[in-house]
Symmetry: C2
Amino acid sequence: MEIYRGHIVYSKNKDELVELTNGYIVVTDGIIQGVYKDLPKEYIDNKVIDFGNGVIIPAFSDLHVHAPQYPNRGIAMDKLLSNWLNDYTFPLESKYKDLEFAKQVYQAFVNDLIKHGTMHAVILGTIHNPATDFLMDLLENKGIQAYVGKVNMDKDSPSYLIETTDQSIKDTKAFIKKHINNKYAKAILTPRFAPTCSFKLLKELGKLAKEYNVPTQTHIVESLWEKEEAKKCFDGCRCDMQIYDETGLLNVQPFIAAHFIFPSEEDIKLLKDHNGYAVTCPDATTNVIAGIMPTGKLIDTGINLAIGSDISAGSYLGIYRQVASVVRLSKLKQFYEPENRTVHFNEAFYMATKSGGKIFDKVGSLELGYYFDALVIDGLEDSFMKLSPIQLVERFCYAGDSHHIVHRYLRGKEI
Amino acid sequence: MEIYRGHIVYSKNKDELVELTNGYIVVTDGIIQGVYKDLPKEYIDNKVIDFGNGVIIPAFSDLHVHAPQYPNRGIAMDKLLSNWLNDYTFPLESKYKDLEFAKQVYQAFVNDLIKHGTMHAVILGTIHNPATDFLMDLLENKGIQAYVGKVNMDKDSPSYLIETTDQSIKDTKAFIKKHINNKYAKAILTPRFAPTCSFKLLKELGKLAKEYNVPTQTHIVESLWEKEEAKKCFDGCRCDMQIYDETGLLNVQPFIAAHFIFPSEEDIKLLKDHNGYAVTCPDATTNVIAGIMPTGKLIDTGINLAIGSDISAGSYLGIYRQVASVVRLSKLKQFYEPENRTVHFNEAFYMATKSGGKIFDKVGSLELGYYFDALVIDGLEDSFMKLSPIQLVERFCYAGDSHHIVHRYLRGKEI
């Protein structure tokens, strides 16, 4: 049993951000047994690990990140989407046919993910099985809860980064089977997005989803162009989400819809009815794509929401900065489209922790029964003005960096 | 004489970002004598300070920052502008009547400014002379080139943070005279903005500007509300900038127009004709104000442009992050208002260094004759993919933090 003392901040629900000043968390076998304002008498003789003015918060969940694009983070950010894809992103992704290159990048990527306090993630690989297998094994061995996808793309892709439909299916099946007994890092189907996947491929993926009970991640209505392209998938296609409905890919949870910037009413209904997740990647959608998710509206529909770093369209791996960006961009969205509303800090923090964490096993909060997947943040307070624990967390999201994370716990073990 | 070796990146002009891989900078008495690809023979026997893979860049200039708001950085960021002002900002500013409080904050503020690589700044204080005098003395003693303003506000302000017109003028005059012989930190007139200044006050400030040759900073068309309020300043007032023209405040350079989000053609013409500066504070204008400067358009008019952190409407003191935000927000502006264009990284970096630096003495570039006010950034490269020096600087702006600044030089002295 371990007992931790410090300020404590976690989301109970989207509206309620709980704060305890100098509280206690009791953990046994990596699982939280209780969170207390005052330490119960029964524990009074136990050793207490005291974080002083540090704030204990849940570790973050990143629900959309391209691991192979990690080498391009923070470069070419003033390019057009088409240039960024064709001159930077696709050429880089093609390098993952070289397993040795992949090993170097993926090790650095996973270390950096942890450094930034992200302990749970939904990750896109590339079309290459050996590289993506390596990434999966790495996460599994570290005990990081993740969904990892071997990417599918069999049309309208560069000649050096494309598969045949048959090879794509064959490789996907091999990928699923190879990792089927994993405990932490699991396979997820990853059709890149409608414009690069034939309807035949998507239907075959739908069969795999059913046969192996594997969920799906993809990009949904990420741009006005993509929204229109998606409709060319099959005759009579009305919207992007319908494609995944028709092919059976919505039937296994969680369905991860990255970006979701321009959803139609039907897109929203389909995602909600299948308990799917809309994942906003605010910096990414301003860096290389143009548009802002109608986050406030979507929150009010009751749909599941989460946040992604979307490296390397996004430039920063820390989800905490994206929490700030979600709030910030919601204000701009409201300015330009007044039917939208401001997303509040507690809502954005909930998206990054408890809401996104729901697709994994018992993570994202600091309540009874959750794993102690947690961070201690410190060095954010001033001597001249007292801030509340919640204000310290807000400051961390707006003005912090990875150096403010002074401890990282994964299922109760410091890493 | 000191000779520094490392990668070198600086702006020659808005379009040309110079990069040297493993170049040399020769500095004598704090002034750059030359920048070389290969070390000239005459220096071959001199000791060279080698920064390895570090990149030498000019120190940043922050042209709009509220020092007294430093304790509020990164909090209350999801509030409305009116709540943020009345519940957080004004109450905090009123505390600077307490000189001891001011001393603590301003020392921390200046240290943090330097930590983030900002060596030149245009700073707003509060209405309180002793506190603002302290800030001025602190900067002067550290040798930081700055303009510092005692704020003027004599109407439509909270009862606990307002001056009479006479007191405001008297205190401003005393402030100017007290610091008139300063070498580095100089007085700047600081009418808060048109809505909180009577026309009489502004006219009196115009007289002081002329008498003491003191320039002016203020907020210009920072919101649609303010744009309209400004027109109530005097009968027949057509635009915000006209107020400062009528009162003679445009006649001393540099005139610093913070935000400049909604300028009319006349605002632009007046600012340009008086060689003034439009200062964008991108995070700030999305955090608490709504709107994006038409930066691309303004660049194309040839107007002077610079960047401000605008603490605490802005949440982060590092101007490098704002360089990224300028690019990012220009893409959103273009999305919503397609007559605007993307601002490129070289343009935003120029704004943050050479352009903003022009209002000070010989800073903002690494060319011959400039002070060696410089930073060395490091720890941004990966082992698995080579980046150019410019790409490393771009990554620093998008994904870096103050820990990537490994050396800081002020007129050739490491600080």
